[in-house]
Amino acid sequence: MLSRTAENLFWMARYIERAESTARLITMGQRMAVLPGSAYRDEWRSVLRVTDSAGYLPQGPVTEEDIVRILLLDPDNPGSIQSCLVRARANGKSVRTKLTQEMWEALNMSWRRFEGLDAAEARHELPALIDWVKTRASIFRGAAETGMLRTAGHDFLRIGGAIERAQMTLRLLEVKYYVLLPETDVVGGGRDHYQWTSVLHALSGSRAYHHVYGAVYTPARIADFLMVNRIFPRSVAYCVDQIRTHLGRLAREHGGPALCHDTAGELYQLLKDGRDGALFDRGLHETVQQCILLFNRLASELAESYHF
């Protein structure tokens, strides 16, 4: 397959995933903003930091209006939903022959909905828009799942999606890790409870959490769930498993493993060592940062190994 095609598929999947993550974070921000007594301004601020939009922070308090402008519509902010959709479609358009008709239609329709949307309209329809973005991302993934040929292109697509998803979980943990520090465990007061659950909500994992860990929220378990759990699809460990599966396929098709395979192995080992509550002993923040570095390295090695 053409190297450029691999690159476009990889990035297309990342942008779709990123648009969806941003949508989820906006929901989290809204939820926090209406809680009594919560310091919601900080919430919006951390949302901006998680999406790498800190450069767009306004001077004064962050309002929902700012959020709509920066995270939904700003064409220059690579984290905004609008620009993610535009970029996903541009990537898709240059590899149209490698997409199924349904995948392309999903991309094209997503883009059309945001075309010419103005701020007032967007604020008015915010919840509907957010749901819509999530739905479109699901349709896109579903179309890929059931229609796309299982060639290397599919592997690059899945790897791109998994890297982006893991990165989002990691950035959320990096910004919010202080909430999960053991000291705050003692109080268990209202605000902390909401903080923890907000992290789970942002990743659509609150119900899943209960199924795995029971009814009680503890920082250690939440961190375990998001980092090293291997059955929750937004956990870092799950994403690493996915990446390794698809890298394995690529290695078979391309006559052997490359540098990126070693890095994926390192990530796997790092998360494995954090299992069974070892995460906090090793330092949550340190592990998160180490993972972020390894993922960045993995992405650039992937490009190098497959000539893009």
Binding site: M1, L2, R4, R96, T97, W104, E105, M109, L250, F308
Partner: protein, 469 residues
Amino acid sequence: MAFFEMHDQDGAIRDCYAEVGRWIEGTGIAGLRRRMEEAEAIFRRIGITFAVYGEGGDPERLIPFDLLPRIFSRLEWQRLELGIRQRAQALNAFLYDVYHRGEIMRAGLIPQDLVYRNEAFRPEMMGFDPPGRVYSHIVGIDIVRTGPESFEVLEDNCRTPSGVSYMLENREIMTRMFPELFGRGLVTPVDNYPALLLQSLKEVAPPACSGDPVVVLLTPGSLNSAYYEHSFLADLMGIELVEPLDLFVDDGRVWMKTTAGPRQVDVIYRRIDDDYLDPLAFRPDSRLGVPGLFHAYRSGGVTLCSAPGAGIADDKAIYVYVPEMIRFYLGEEPILANIPTWQCGTPEGLDYVLTHLGELVAKEVHGSGGYGMLIGPQADQAALAAYAARILANPGGFIAQPTLALSTVPTLGETEVVRRHADFRPYCLVGKQMRLVAGGLTRVALTEGSLVVNSSQGGGVKDTWVLRN
């Protein structure tokens, strides 16, 4: 009064339109309009769009689609097909001659300067034999109709004629929406076009190719106005759609960069202009292009389709001589006539055009897409005077033709079936043999009375049927 293709001179429905006439009657105008909106929604969702150069606005504009098909009888098509093949053969023979001994110029039938001083002439191609001696592998011939028996050629397209994706998509959407119209096999299918195209391209593999030729489609990229067509054709042929940066030349062969390393390429169906193919051979300032590509082509390492320099055959100044080419190379009389054309570059021509400009259609020799043309009868005095001044400043750059009574075809109006002018572009494939699917692209001027069918000027498209009997 222009010939309305649905009726005979007594106003009765012509045989070939009988079936569609009943269908229009049965469905009703309101019903048809509803279906047309559905069709448009499908087109938009699929993303078949067309960008118009230099017009600004929405780069992803849709070409309007008209639901009512344009229909040719079997007999009409047989004659058209013979004429198209004849013309495509003569144009390729002319190209071979131009780049070899130039017999037709030596015979005094075509002025030397018109060819060898033409911008579309590529001296780099002199003496080179392209595989199969084919220069133009896809010849698109624009044909107009002026009466029941009269078909005339408006212009030839020997470089990379576009629009064939609309032929295929229009049929696809009609079949999807109105299966009952196609169920009885009245209409000759066109969907084998991609297979025939690929076969033709493989037949012109270069001498260096061993085994099954690797064919790619070279596009300038996703911002090009015809990009949709490029990806569509690559998809249907199952070949890679490459951009210039995906290719490189090494050791006289062309390679594409893949995730598994370089892979050899044998035939390039290029949808990039000559100028931008290779900065070493053509425009050195081009940021597009594959350095060394032309050298690899000349040394037999790769085939370019169409050949660089093929444009000399579809130049509007050369057009006048195509009937002569047919007689000279094939020893036959032209089956499809040319439209009488005055060349402003000759004193008699210039004189005639300037005194009759109000009755003529004047065009730039190197223009295309309906840009820079003047329709005399529809222009006011000021426009005529301004155009006359342009002609005088550079007479050789203009030609003029009579304003034709182009035939009209049934088109869906707001409340009734209306008559709109149309033209027709079939696509003749040339490999080791010539191939033609029974159909082509019908373009229709959607504004009442308008004679300009170009999509860049508000034209639309229709499905074109060739009946089986």
